[in-house]
């Protein structure tokens, strides 16, 4: 079993208005066999983190400026592209948010599923088809042999997402990166897909990085959590550290602002005022300073370093001890 560690990763994009840092000095470790959740609002850099790990950043605008992504001691950012292609799909599988755009509409399910098997394993085509049918069956698609010959538009959203998962898991990777795998799906289908991922994880001993904006999904599935805000890690720790002992004002605000089934009817929800700052005019100090109700003079001046709360719980806030 493998662990994936991201160290001081910086990813930049060239835009018309200049170079922007989409993620800035991000570090975390996804432990073997466990589920790590990355949570944050849109534009906070969760998806860019995933694309950086896979080295699938849009070219030529996006590049990893510094830092490393280590899979069992190998730095993926330094691998020649041919070597990286052997990692993608075989050692790290990826599930994308939108199951319609992740599949090619003009190829059959079978062709897209066997492609990954034929590339990474030297097996004859009929064996690839046999394994493909087995995989579709495993992810819970009824009459898999018929589905192999069908096109993505003939399947429902939930079924398509199952196909994407089957493709990601075809070569039994050590890692699965799931970028908002259930955001486009209904709750009953979401529950099916999350259960499927959990089941396959325990069966194959795989590690999962789950990217989502839904704190409910995080609470139900993850062991460790990274909370991102405006391209930086705001807080990281075990799922209990984050939900029971959140130290960062942003995490606390986020947890308080979601209506749950026990929130009083039509009561005023607590809000985080303002908006996430744009990447082009980031504040000099703490990036949450302009929305934080606890900010004081030093917060605007210097960017806080990650401070240790306990062994695995770290927070990027100067004043966490006083709050």
């Amino acid at each position: 079993m493998a662990a994936l560690s991201i160290n001081n990763l910086v990813t930049e994009f060239d835009t018309d208005e200049g170079r922007v840092r989409a993620i800035d000095d991000v570090s975390f470790t996804a432990k073997a066999g466990q589920t790590l959740g990355i949570v944050g609002e849109s534009g906070c850099g969760k998806s860019v983190t995933a694309l950086s790990i896979m080295r699938l950043l849009p070219q030529p605008m996006g590049q990893i400026a510094s830092g490393s992504v280590e899979l069992d001691g190998t730095d993926l950012t330094q691998l020649p592209i041919q070597e990286m292609e052997k990692v993608r799909g075989a050692r790290i599988g990826m599930v994308f948010q939108e199951p319609m755009t992740a599949l090619n509409p003009v190829h059959t399910i079978g062709r897209q599923l066997t492609e990954v098997l034929l590339i990474h394993k030297s097996i004859p085509p009929d064996e690839a088809i046999r394994q493909g049918v087995e995989l579709l069956d495993r992810v819970g698609i009824p009459s898999p042999d018929v589905r192999m010959t069908e096109y993505p538009h003939q399947l429902s959203g939930g079924m398509r997402q199952r196909v994407v998962i089957a493709i990601a898991l075809a070569c039994k990777p050590d890692f699965l990166i799931a970028d908002e795998p259930t955001t486009a799906l209904d709750v009953t289908i979401q529950a099916q897909i999350l259960d499927l991922i959990k089941e396959l994880q325990s069966e194959m001993g795989m590690s999962v990085i789950l990217i989502t904006h839904d704190l409910g999904v995080i609470a139900e599935t993850c062991d460790d959590v990274v909370v991102m805000y405006a391209g930086k890690v705001a807080e990281k720790g075990s799922v209990f550290d984050i939900f029971d002992r959140a130290a960062h004002p942003y995490t606390r605000g986020l947890l308080k602002s979601i209506p749950t089934l026990s929130t009083a009817h039509k009561s005023t929800l607590s809000v985080i005022d303002g908006m996430v700052p744009g990447l082009l005019d980031l504040p000099k100090g703490c990036r949450f300073e302009n929305r934080c109700t606890h900010s004081e003079a030093p917060c605007g001046g210097q960017a806080p370093k990650l401070q240790t709360v306990n062994e695995q719980h770290q927070v990027s806030c100067l004043r966490w001890q006083e709050l």
Partner: protein, 329 residues
């Protein structure tokens, strides 16, 4: 249909056996031999100042129902009564007075605002269409509207792209309340927004309701959000309402097997409460060719022989309206 809310006031909206069938054209001649029964026999009432939440999975017909009520569609059959007047078959000019009273907030705040118009133009348009006021009074009212929804007055000369998603939704809300409507159909108003912005918009909607005594038909798939804002909740499945009751009662004592599994599927943001969920298998079937009998029977964990043959009718169980054959609901 009896309502769980006290029948003191006359309902502002009464929908009876509403059907909206879209023809499905097939073959070389594009003959419409089949129809998509998006809304298939729905009845409910909304009282003044009340919020009715409408929940269901995608494809269950909830948006179509909302659009029928805002009369963006002309329903196939059934009736929609607004303050006692039947508006089901009204067309063109005859609809104008009702357009003032029934407004709509759309899901995607980018697509529902004209990107070539300034915010001032967008908010002034309802008054021009309805021929209300002169230039000066309209401009004053636009500033008031911006104030109500919490946007700076200088937004008047700006364009939609200059605003964030949450701010654009505020503009959409300002437009919907411009004509002092009595009923607002909110079609997934917060689904496209981030968590921290969602709560801002929900608070705004609750405040506006209190201030202007608005009635809402609040359509969404996020059950926690719907429960927060709704007085009563109706659960839809494949063109029908399968259960209706007060928000608290739906969540704490769901009766219909579909409602039970829907509530059980909601992820709870509390890592100490990881319970085994009752997961229903399969997808929502196509409304073009819906299952026989009870439409939920192919996915129902408690399906009986009778369910496959006979469609259940809405009946009263305690303070719920439930559409199910089971005896021990």
């Amino acid at each position: 249909m009896p309502s769980s809310v006290s029948p003191k006031s006359a309902p502002i909206l009464k929908v009876t056996d509403l059907k909206m069938h879209f023809p499905v054209k097939e073959g070389i001649l594009l003959r419409a031999n089949k129809s998509n029964k998006a809304v298939d026999g729905i009845s409910f009432e909304i009282q003044p100042g009340e919020t009715l939440g409408l929940v269901g999975e995608s494809g269950c017909g909830k948006s179509t129902l909302g659009r029928c009520i805002a009369r963006l569609y002309e329903p196939t059959s059934g009736s929609i009564e607004f303050e006692g007047n039947d508006i089901t078959k009204l067309k063109g000019r005859a609809l104008m007075p009702y357009r003032q009273n029934i407004q709509m907030i759309f899901q995607d705040p980018m697509e529902s605002l004209n990107s070539r118009h300034t915010i001032g133009d967008i908010l002034e348009e309802p008054y021009i269409v309805q021929k209300i006021g002169d230039k000066a009074s309209r401009a004053k009212r636009v500033r008031e509207l911006l104030n109500i929804v919490g946007l700076p007055t200088r937004s008047i000369t700006r364009y939609p792209f200059e605003f964030s998603g949450g701010q654009r939704q505020r503009i959409g809300i300002a437009r919907s309340i411009a004509l002092n409507p009595k009923l607002v159909v909110c079609d997934e108003p917060v689904s496209a927004l981030d968590v921290s912005i969602q709560s801002q918009i929900l608070n705004l909607l609750v405040d506006l309701q209190k201030e202007f005594n608005l009635a809402y038909l609040f359509i969404a798939h996020d059950l926690a959000v719907v429960k927060h804002i709704s007085d009563r909740i109706a659960i839809m499945y494949l063109g029908n309402i399968v259960e209706e009751s007060t928000g608290e009662s739906i969540y704490h004592e769901p009766r219909h097997p579909y409602t039970k599994s829907l509530i059980s599927a909601i992820p709870i943001p509390d890592p100490h409460r990881r319970v085994k969920r009752e997961i229903i298998s399969g997808d929502v079937p196509s409304p073009i060719n819906p299952p026989s009998g009870c439409r939920f029977h192919p996915r129902c964990p408690r399906v009986m022989e009778r369910c496959k043959l006979e469609a259940p009718l809405l009946r009263t169980v305690a303070d719920h309206q439930v559409c199910c054959h089971l005896d021990d609901l």
